[in-house]
């Protein structure tokens, strides 16, 4: 393993900002793995660190197969993580809305450019991602429908679901999209949490990455096959929105199987505790996404359920 500084920038008063890379093996640029790009992506950073730990062990045992190079970048934004901010510490811009970047542009454009320069050209790209809505997910692989996506490959992660979604205009500046446009097979791994460490779901995520690398004959690390992933699109998810605001009293969470008519949650009056609304499942299925904050706005996505 070679630990390298891939990008370095001076700060007026803080320590230098550095992006560190961990490079394994030599040969074809096989896979690049990117962890936290936002300061609250602690779960993503932790998961990536475990990938590095496992790869170091595998390398010591000679189980990274010849002819493959693996690059892991656990953190691209610790300047924000160290001060509990989600976006870039200085101007609150989002590095993952700056790809492919611009090396003569603004600070986060330069960071994105430097990062993309390092990770482009790899055959596979894996990002440990987080979502813009607060909530818990079933671990899954997410791909954008760019016409370049390969769902057969995504199933090799062995996660329960592969979700294909149509990119929106703002998606055109994220890493995953640009990877695909520049001929890298790109996968975003959602392990379910962001600003807290959930060891169970993190392990599911890092094992899925090792499983993929094994399946693609990049490492020799036999583990169980995982799930026979179900491939979904947004239309396969039934969205349930809140009809009231208040305190959310959740009864069911992500991964739960539910029947039509099951009580999923109650929304309580924050003054009297009276039940303002009961939320029932409209379908039989598995909860794919569940809002997990204690307060809920009206007309907000509470659940997404995969229909049986």
């Amino acid at each position: 393993m070679k630990q390298e500084i891939l990008f370095q920038m001076k700060s007026p008063y803080r320590d230098d900002f550095k992006i560190q890379g961990f490079r394994f093996g030599e040969g074809e640029k096989s896979v690049a793995i990117v962890g936290a790009m936002r300061g609250d992506e602690i779960q993503q950073q932790f998961t990536c660190s475990q990938v590095v730990k496992n790869l170091i062990e595998l390398e010591n045992e000679g189980r990274i197969l010849p002819g493959h190079e693996i690059l892991v970048i656990p953190s691209a934004n610790h300047f924000s993580m160290n001060i509990n901010k989600r976006f870039w510490a200085m101007d609150n811009t989002d590095i993952n809305r700056m790809f492919p970047g611009y090396d003569k542009g603004e600070t986060t454009q330069r960071i994105a450019s430097a990062l993309f320069e390092q990770v482009r050209g790899f055959k596979y790209g894996i990002q440990l991602a987080s979502f813009y809505m607060p909530g818990e997910f079933i671990p899954h692989v997410r791909m954008m429908d760019t016409g370049f996506q390969n769902t057969k490959l995504a199933k090799k992660f062995g996660l329960p679901y592969v979700l294909i979604r149509k990119p929106k205009p703002y998606d055109t500046t994220v890493l995953n999209y640009n990877w695909q446009v520049f001929d890298t097979q790109a996968f975003s791994i959602y392990s379910g949490d962001t600003d807290t460490i959930n060891k169970e779901s993190a392990k599911i995520a890092w094992l899925s990455i090792l499983r993929f690398l094994n399946s693609m004959k990049i490492i020799d690390n036999n583990i169980h096959d995982g799930y026979n992933s179900c491939v979904l699109s947004d239309q396969d998810l039934k969205t349930i929105k809140s009809n009231q605001a208040g305190i959310l009293y959740s009864l069911r969470g992500a991964k739960d199987e539910v029947k039509e008519g099951d009580l999923l949650a109650k929304i309580l009056d924050p003054f009297t505790g009276a039940v303002r609304s009961e939320i029932f499942s409209p379908v039989d299925g598995t909860i794919f996404f569940a809002h997990d904050k204690p307060l809920i706005h009206q007309n907000t996505v509470m659940y997404k359920i995969v229909r049986f």
Binding site: S11, M90, R97, K104, T108, K168, A245, G246, H297, T300
Partner: protein, 314 residues
Amino acid sequence: MIKTIISEGLPVDEQLLIRKKIVQNGTGQKRICIVTGTHGDELEGQYVCFELIRRLNENIQFLDGTVEVYPALNPLGVDSVTRGIPTFDLDMNRIFPGDPNGHLIEHTAYEIIQDLRGADMVIDIHASNIFLREMPQARINVKMSRKLIPYAKMLNIDFIWIHDAATVLESTLAHSLNVIKTPTIVVEMGIGMRITRDYGNRLVDGIFNMMKKMKMWSGTVSKDISHPMLSTTGKVCFMNAEASGIIIPSVSHSVDVKKGDLLCQIVDPFEGVILQNVLSPVDGTVFTLRTYPVVYEGSLIARIFSKTPCHDSL
């Protein structure tokens, strides 16, 4: 009349309210809309809303049509000094045209579009951010330029920047309205978290001038309407910091500079040394200038409009 276009419950004893002021007189069917407060830290539009409504109220007899004013599309942000929407990660001006089945804010964006749809003109007022001061200017997508430039010239601004079509900008309010044939001009002026009264008065003069030309206003208008520079007659040069440090400015905003003029110095207060002398690469007009002193490598320092070509220009 004040009309509520969005009312959604917040968790504890509060509604998310988005409201508009409707000023109407006469039988004219023309409708213009003034929207601002998409970014909660951009406040220049607040004065424009106030002054526009004040002048309309004082001379309502000259209005023949409808003026709708939306002072705060992001009321939670304006009232809490937050650029984005509190509790929501995405920039509000990157989620249009919204989604009737999406998150509360995506649904809100959808409803805003429906409410503005069909207006004869929408002016979407922005105020840069807390780092940069902008000369009063219109920003127009090149695809919409033929229709919108004549209106932008009426607005008493200094500069019209015709920019290339970028996919990411398709999710802005202005683009989303323009594609449904609701003509919309983005005005950028001033700086975040502040009000520049002179700029506000100028734009209000411009709005009345535009209404006069649209035959919605029969009262007097300013005779001193400016003739804006058009970006297609030259180049926009970007200057970014090449060192991290503290900026000491050497020029004022909106001035003309010569090639080689010192715009600012980036200094290291620890060592007492100059890290970078930022020189103008061209003769031109400084229409964007950084006012916030702390910079990282890459921070935008200035934009200069020049009638001569320059390096790294758009």
